[in-house]
Subunit: 334 residues, 2 copies
Amino acid sequence: MSLPEFEHIKLARLQSRVRPHLDAMQAALDRLTASDIALADEVGGHVRRGQGKLFRPTLLFLSAMNDGGVPAAAIEAAAAVELVHTATLVHDDFIDDAKTRRGLPTVNARYGPSTALIMGDLLYTRALQHLARLNLALPLQLMTDAAVLMSEAEIIQVQTRYRLDVDEETYLRIIYQKTASLIECACRIGASFLPDGAAVDGVFEQFGRQTGLVFQITDDIFDYLGDPRRLGKPTGRDWEEGRVTLPLIAAWREAGEADRRDLAALAGSRDPAARAASWPRVQAFVEAHRGVEYAYDRARRYGDEAKRALADLPDGPRRDLLRTAVEYVINRLN
Amino acid sequence: MSLPEFEHIKLARLQSRVRPHLDAMQAALDRLTASDIALADEVGGHVRRGQGKLFRPTLLFLSAMNDGGVPAAAIEAAAAVELVHTATLVHDDFIDDAKTRRGLPTVNARYGPSTALIMGDLLYTRALQHLARLNLALPLQLMTDAAVLMSEAEIIQVQTRYRLDVDEETYLRIIYQKTASLIECACRIGASFLPDGAAVDGVFEQFGRQTGLVFQITDDIFDYLGDPRRLGKPTGRDWEEGRVTLPLIAAWREAGEADRRDLAALAGSRDPAARAASWPRVQAFVEAHRGVEYAYDRARRYGDEAKRALADLPDGPRRDLLRTAVEYVINRLN
């Protein structure tokens, strides 16, 4: 059995515990992405076909579980979280000018920039409308907070693009806001449905935040190492598009002046072809200064913190499953 | 005194009745468009400098007024409505590739498409976050409903772009969703703060919707006649960009087969320069078949319906001011 298959089975086992909820959520998602407007319905279907692993709804349900069940409102809230995630991907793919996502053309590549912008807006607003109509006040607060943080992160990324002097603190702010905030939001929304939701909110905030940081750091490492789950997926996209992530930040910190000068010369170009051509030298730089090892170490520490946050929860299957979830994210790096 | 000056004074007189509320709202808007992120703060300032006439907040306050005062929450809700309006303009200017708005470069022209997309998202989500934090459940429902309708309208516009066979019903759906829905939303949010808010909701729904239709139809007429308030503003933008509006729809309905064939030949081109070159012939077509007269007649009828809706309100200054507001919109056409 290959590593990707093994990982897939681990996630599937985790999700089997919340399968009926995921299925019910899927029905809600189908409704929310359908439309009486032909073009919106078509793009909605395209987006559904490219759907991901449902990691955020899975965490939401694991957080909300009480004697194995979750309230009906949690199903609807999970659909809204996943829909917001989808909307951000549609907009991100426009910003990054990405051609494919999960083997399908992006909305931007297939339907053009105007439709990508509008469909992102439509999915975003549908998700928030759904929560508003159901009068889910606390989920709405958490979700709009996360939405603001995610938009801000995109602006910071535009502002710091191509800059080699991005420090670890700025990097952490970016990945917290763009990725961890929505994962934290999913966990807190889930926990808000528990009878003792307010009391354990801090646990889920910590758990979600740290898990989200691990999630993004591992993704950023994959861009250097290649992702074992997606063999053949090209590396170096972040470098090519001017995003400086933790492996490079750490390597830069360790490098001597001569090495830094060489790298700075490569970083001066904004031409994608030139940047792609310099990618092997960037990889060598990061390897020489052990940038991936540093990033991996940080990811493991955040993972440990996520598990430590769970210590304040009562013993039981929920705690075990959440621990498994964070181990799944860490072990993507094997 | 020129007509634009006269109109300006009429709006100013109307707004003098809600001036303290508009000023308080301006302070809220300044806070909501400021940011600790340099680029977001800069673009926020750019957007504030290009601010419009505050027509939606004015209507919201006129709807909310009770003995001349409005509750503090109405000020915050008005800021959110204006901010959503601003966000849609930032995205619209990207979709239309507009170069200037109110004498300033658009965000898209000045900062590029990625920043326009992200800043629109940020302003949108800040507005909704603001309502969610203040726990304004009903305004949030009304606002997210309007936001969905506005996004859908953009998709319908993409879908019907360049098509001469758009009928009046489709046109009315588009302008209701893209323009009237937010004006209706502003009026209903305002009225929701009244002690008898639920009882008069239907009045403000009707009033806001019809006023919004008048607003957009008059705007569409300006694109044929030129807008007397903005002398020298070029006409024909809608035609150039493939948007078929009421004057053309009405003229098309009246035209004979030969005239239609001539126009259809012009409409076949999607090249902006070719479309700009054919604009005088489109104007002549609309004039020959009295398209503007038809649109003007419809606008007046919707204006009458808006005023009729007010009949169900008690006598008093609020009713008079709302009547003046709809007359202001109609009289922009003089």
